[in-house]
Amino acid sequence: MANKPPERDLAPVIQKLRLRYAKRGRLRFSSHRDFQRALERALRRAGVPMAYSAGFSPHPKISYSNSAPTGVASEAEYVEIGVTELCDPQKLQAELDAALPPGLDVVEVIEATSSDFSSRLEASLWEMEICAPAQEVMSAVGALMESTEVLVERKTKSGLRVFDARSAILLMESVTESAVTGPGGDQMPPECVILHVVVRHITPSVRPDDVLTALKQVGNLVPLKPIRVTRLAQGPLNEVGDVGIEAEISIRDPFDPDRVLV
């Protein structure tokens, strides 16, 4: 009798909402699982009418996409939730942001009016703060971009994996000012170079630490301290003309299709 899940009022999903959130300052050290727990609690605290799955342990309908690694900050993480009552996206953004600890910040909420969201996340723009003499950094960048293939190793759950980190890198340039603001955006220490790197999402994914490994390999780069990384954007890739010409590579807002339909 109690071996069957009990009857519950399983209200259907009547609206899907997409959230962009940021992981800032010291909370960049939260893992994806840490964020999941924090978000689920925040949804309950904010009284969001979540839709739940059936079964013995019902869980709220949330789909996560493509989260930034532990230790990496981000201005552009995405989550989709299903609710059982119509919600006002602006109010939800404010309530949910207030219910999350500072540093996990809900930046924007829109109603989902299009499908295939996750396939829109084609590439990421990463900001990497590397503390090493500028000359060394830039010569490593040059060497990397001139290579056609740079094999890197990474430990994964299924063992050591070797893959090319170069082909996914579409753009790599130094900038004079950090695009990161808000908590954690303290002054830049001397002897640091800020790189903006556009990386295409492929499998296996090429992460910022793989890019760093590649830079170390081709350019003998030795950072003076751990690098600081922030994902500035992810979304559909604007690719016009030849790869490598910076002005023509950019990342569009993945919410654009939903905005058009509203």
Partner: protein, 666 residues
């Protein structure tokens, strides 16, 4: 400024209370689970350093995942931070990967709230739930650059030990400045006031001046003001104050009227995964069941219930403030709350339509307990049910005063399996006084009976029973404080026989899971529990030899402890066996005799004699008082219902409901 932050020698120029986060941050990408060190939990508090006169660092001396959910620390953190001129921050033990990086880069022990150096605080309060946290205290002191020995400290924090282990702080007497017995809420306020007056008066008498003021209060134990003299045979001759004005006995704190102290009001919600992913509400404090092995039940008397209206308000408020989806109703034996039935029904009604689940750490063996569990899991979330008969035979259960008959147990589990529960966990102990192999082998017989009854009641063959066994460690302030601990070889041999008896059973063996630990850690816990001041050197030696996180089997090394004990106790004429497997007699001065838990030592001795004659004693909540001494000594009383309230008012406007209305829908 910027270069100073990067320079590790900046520690010498850092202002008091200034954050060390920039230095720590550089280490975080290099270690496992960095989130545990960054703080920023929901409901955490940080105050400007200069706003407070008295600064407390509160340490739970175990990993963050264990320490962060600890109720005691959360309560004191809130109680202290509510005071305008007091500031409290939390700190936890750092894992060896970070410890070695901190030493290499000269990053001091820090709090997770504002990442201030622990050495900057006026007080360092440690909450010891178990003696196995002692070595982690030494790591913290050393990382904080605080001298390990209290007498070597000058302008350093006053190190205060609390928690259940502080009822015998003698093994750590050389490392701590003070110990507090009992409930912490009023204790930390009293200490804060004494320290504040001392600071405001220009610190008269220096460090010793404030310690003397604390000692004079009669309820803060300052080990340095007491001398221990020994007899030629190694036993203690006497423990006497070495100052006038210092009381010969120090008494415990007892908080009366839990309804007036509804803490934590805003429970912390850690980002990191912890051992308890739920909110807890303490429904009563103390226990008078009288289980003779149970230190918690003896030292937290009398029973003080929180009223069901105030419990319901705490549950509701806590859920709103945290967003947790599970609430645990905590106490030493939650089904014993005088109005638990009404409470369970009301809470189940209230949260039935939500995704909130309620749990009761259910250890009492009776069918009523199963009804409660059924009620609380009405909305479907049924995990295992746990019962604690503690002893395998009816004889040994009389010895330990755990009054459960085999019939009770079978009736209880039959009800549980019949109600759809598939796994029942049973807790037992091994190594109890007077125990024989036969008593322990009875556990196997009982487990088989449980499965047999369960299969019949449920009509299924796939039900399970998990038997968990802990090694018994005699504890101070219990009737078993005089008992000989069973040596680890005998414990292991007995458990092996039990394992064989279960495994070799073709009919039931596969349905019974057995979980136990070997007897070695219990021996170390034993010497730390009933040790005297001579054990301090054992702890220090073991720590210097690398002992850390002794509660974690992957870090614990028995051999390291034994070698350290041989070395440290060499000149004393006593050894590990003397502290653990030796039975004491009535005339022996026990190391904690000058610390008053309220229990009358004659009553404890009589109860010990009753245990040996297998005589059981009832619970004073429903029988006349039998003079354990607590209520008279401490001027306290049992506080139980009924309150006369059976239906809790449904919340007029649940905050979440209001939010839903404002946020979404019509």
């Amino acid at each position: 400024m910027t270069s100073q932050i990067l320079d590790s020698s900046a520690s010498t120029t850092r202002e008091r209370g200034q954050s060390v986060f920039p230095e720590l941050e550089a280490l975080l990408p290099l270690i496992a689970k960095p989130i545990q060190y960054v703080g920023g939990e929901l409901n955490a508090v940080t105050k400007p350093w200069s706003d407070a006169t008295v600064h407390w660092a509160l340490m739970y001396p175990d990993a963050y995942e264990v320490g962060a959910p600890n109720q005691g620390v959360q309560i004191l953190y809130e109680v202290l931070n509510e005071q305008a001129d007091v500031l409290a921050e939390r700190t936890y033990a750092v894992w060896p990967d970070l410890e070695s990086l901190m030493r290499e880069h000269e990053v001091p022990a820090f709090t997770v709230d504002a990442h201030r150096s622990v050495a900057d605080f006026d007080l360092l309060g440690l909450s010891f739930s178990t003696e196995l946290g002692y070595t982690n205290m030494l790591t913290a002191l050393s990382l904080a650059n605080i001298p390990l020995h209290a007498i070597d400290r000058e302008d350093h924090p006053i190190v205060v030990a609390g928690g259940h282990a502080a009822f015998n702080p003698e093994p750590i007497a050389q490392f701590i400045d003070a110990a507090v017995l009992g409930d912490g809420e009023e204790a930390v306020l009293l200490i804060s006031n004494i320290v504040k007056s001392w600071i405001n008066a220009g610190r008269p008498g220096g460090r010793e001046g404030v310690l003397l003021e604390l000692a004079k209060s009669g309820c803060v134990y300052i080990p340095r003001f007491y001398d221990v003299e020994y007899l030629p045979d190694g036993r203690i001759k006497r423990v006497v104050p070495n100052r006038p004005d210092v009381p010969s006995r120090v008494t415990k704190f007892t908080l009366m009227d839990l309804d007036a102290w509804p803490y934590p009001k805003a429970p912390l919600v850690p980002l990191a995964e912890t051992v308890h992913e739920r909110m807890s509400v303490e429904i009563f404090r103390g226990c008078t069941r009288g289980c003779r092995f149970c230190q918690a039940g003896m030292i937290t008397r009398p029973v003080r219930e929180r009223s069901i209206t105030s419990i319901a308000a705490m549950v509701e408020n806590g859920l709103e403030k945290t967003g947790f989806e599970e609430v645990g109703l905590l106490s030493l034996s939650s089904a014993d709350h005088s109005e638990i039935g009404d409470l369970a029904r009301n809470l189940a009604d209230r949260y039935e339509k939500t995704q909130t689940s309620l749990s009761l750490p259910s250890t009492r063996v009776d069918a009523f307990n199963v009804d409660l569990a059924n009620e609380l899991s009405r909305n479907g979330r049924r995990s295992g049910l746990t019962f604690a008969p503690e002893g395998g035979s009816e004889r040994i259960r009389r010895v330990i005063n755990k009054l459960v008959s085999e019939e009770d147990l079978i009736r209880t589990v039959t009800t549980a399996y019949g109600a759809g529960w598939r796994n029942v966990k049973l807790y037992f102990m091994c190594g109890l006084p007077t125990e024989t192999d036969e008593d322990v082998l009875q556990i196997a017989a009982m487990a088989k009976e449980v499965i047999r009854a369960g299969r019949e009641a449920s009509g299924r063959r796939d039900i399970k029973c998990t038997v968990s066994i802990g090694g018994f460690v005699p504890k101070p302030h219990t009737p078993f404080q005089w008992a000989a601990q069973l040596d680890h070889e005998s414990t292991d041999a007995r458990l092996q026989k039990l394992k064989d008896a279960i495994r070799n059973d073709k009919e039931f063996g596969k349905a019974i899971g057995l979980r136990y630990h070997d007897g070695k850690p219990g021996i170390i816990e034993g010497i730390l529990s009933r040790g005297d001041r001579r054990v301090g050197d054992v702890i220090e030696t073991a720590w210097k030899n690398g002992a850390r996180f002794d509660g974690w089997s992957e870090h614990f090394s028995f051999d390291r402890w034994i070698e350290s004990a041989h070395f440290a106790l060499e000149e004393t004429g006593v050894d590990v066996d003397w502290f653990t497997t030796r039975e004491r007699d009535y005339t022996e001065v026990l190391p904690w005799d000058h610390l008053d838990s309220g229990l009358d030592s004659e009553w404890l001795w009589e109860d010990w004699q009753d245990a040996l004659s297998e005589v059981a004693v009832d619970d004073c909540r429903w029988t006349p008082c039998f003079d354990c001494g607590v209520c008279d000594q401490m001027n306290t009383e049992i506080q139980v219902g009924p309150t006369g309230v059976t239906d809790l008012p449904m919340p007029s406007a649940r905050v979440s409901a209001v939010l839903i209305q404002g946020l979404c829908g019509n």
